[in-house]
Subunit: 243 residues, 2 copies
DNA sequence: CCAAAAGTGTTGACAATACACCCATGA
DNA sequence: TCATGGGTGTATTGTCAACACTTTTGG
């Protein structure tokens, strides 16, 4: 920041955003992918994204791109959890030119429709289970892997899991988020106690209940609470903490 | 990433790196600041940083700038802990032009000399206690605050604290890092047990000992161990986890 | 009545705290 | 021998994982 600001002293880089939009559906973590229409990587799947406009911040650009690609209502896009992941700046990450990309992670609930049919172009955007998302364009496989690992960690010490749930959810659904992202089974009674013992994690919706699996006792409904941090954390079991 | 790559389709942004170089000295967290020589913010203190060169990644640029500003030996700069913090992209963060900056946090041990006299220009670079670093140029106060909070959190669940220590250190010095960054006192016996009970956090240096405060029993020396994560975490006390 | 899902209770192992105490060194 | 910092021991307290058990629904 102490260099001379000669307009020719710096190389003009293109700056883009890339989005790892994640959701939990049917017991598997899914990511929103777009099929590329042109070279390079024509026909390959890629993360949605695009250029930052001259008067936009990266976050504004990310929300705009998300709205364009998914066709979600603007107020929904405004509300959902969007978080800066990392910036990818390897000189050759795009074969044509110098592109620096600010990557974001977005967490959305399981959207009712296959969604993501950005503008009726039904074959262009798809939810793909993250384990089947291979052969991605550019360095998007790295971005996706970083997003997965970040989300996994954040579930441990933040209240982020509710971002994967609809506005009202059962504790069973919340537990399923943890189990899906971590790939481990959790003890239901203990999970329940832990969540309810954390002030501000969830708030009970008075009197409401929902039949979840068709059978079984109706479950009480909860809303996300005001808390964001999780003290003490909810650590995933049997994961490298032998001591 | 699915837009057309017309060279005129994107606005050419300048891309820079900014560095929050932190150290612990004399019981206070310090940050490395540079006094600006030109407008805007001439005479104000700022975080070190500069433009990314055409064939550099952001991390490479950060290490190069760090070496230039601090005058540290290249192999030291190569080894120290450098971590991407966040990218700052508000359109008006630089009054002259569009500058997107990738911020990094660097953790260094208390350097023997006042250091940071980049090229003998003794008044240009200085270690400043973070609490006295006010009136910074651009949005650097925000970057510094983000770096502080990130480092504070990372001490809880990673082995990062050793990055603030010299290659060999005592447990008292390690504890001082925690106490300085968190601003809280820790119980020495319990801290000691916690650290030693975490496999790979530190390794004893056989037979070595050092007089720390001049007086008192010589303390055993330790090296950073191979572990990076801290399971279970070392939570700061009395900090919002009443339940 | 059975299966399935929600929710409660209880117990034992283990971890964290608080604090008393001992050790080695310099002045 | 006293102050200072390093290091050990221990009792109490709390937390968490495991699992048995009850409740409420649909078939």
């Amino acid at each position: 920041m102490n260099a001379v600001y000669d307009p020719h002293a710096f190389a003009p880089f293109a700056v883009t955003v890339d989005l790892a939009v994640l959701t939990v559906r049917g017991g598997a973590l899914h990511v929103l992918l777009i099929r590329r229409g042109q070279e390079p990587y024509a026909g390959a799947w890629a993360l949605p994204g695009g250029f930052i406009l001259p008067r936009e911040s990266a976050e504004t650009a990310a929300r705009r791109e998300l709205a364009e690609e998914t066709g979600l209502a603007p107020e929904l896009v405004e509300a959902l959890h969007l978080e800066q992941l990392r910036t990818y700046s390897e000189p050759d990450r795009d074969p044509r030119m110098r592109v620096v990309s600010v990557a974001f992670t977005a967490l959305v609930p399981d959207l009712p429709e296959p969604a993501a049919t950005g503008g009726g172009d039904a074959d262009r955007a798809r939810w793909v289970p993250v384990d089947e998302a291979v052969g991605l364009a550019f360095d998007h496989a790295v971005i996706l892997a970083d997003a997965r690992s970040r989300v996994g960690s954040k579930l441990e010490y933040t209240c982020l899991a509710t971002a994967f749930c609809p506005p009202e959810f059962t504790l069973g659904e919340l537990q399923a988020v943890y189990e899906t992202v971590w790939g481990t089974a959790l003890d239901r009674p203990n999970f329940r106690r832990k969540v309810l013992a954390t002030p501000g994690f969830v708030e009970a919706v008075p009197g409401a209940a929902r039949l979840t699996g068709g059978r079984g006792k109706p479950a009480a409904l909860y809303r996300p609470g005001p808390a964001t941090a999780l003290h003490p954390p909810l650590l995933r079991p049997t994961e490298g903490h032998q001591r």
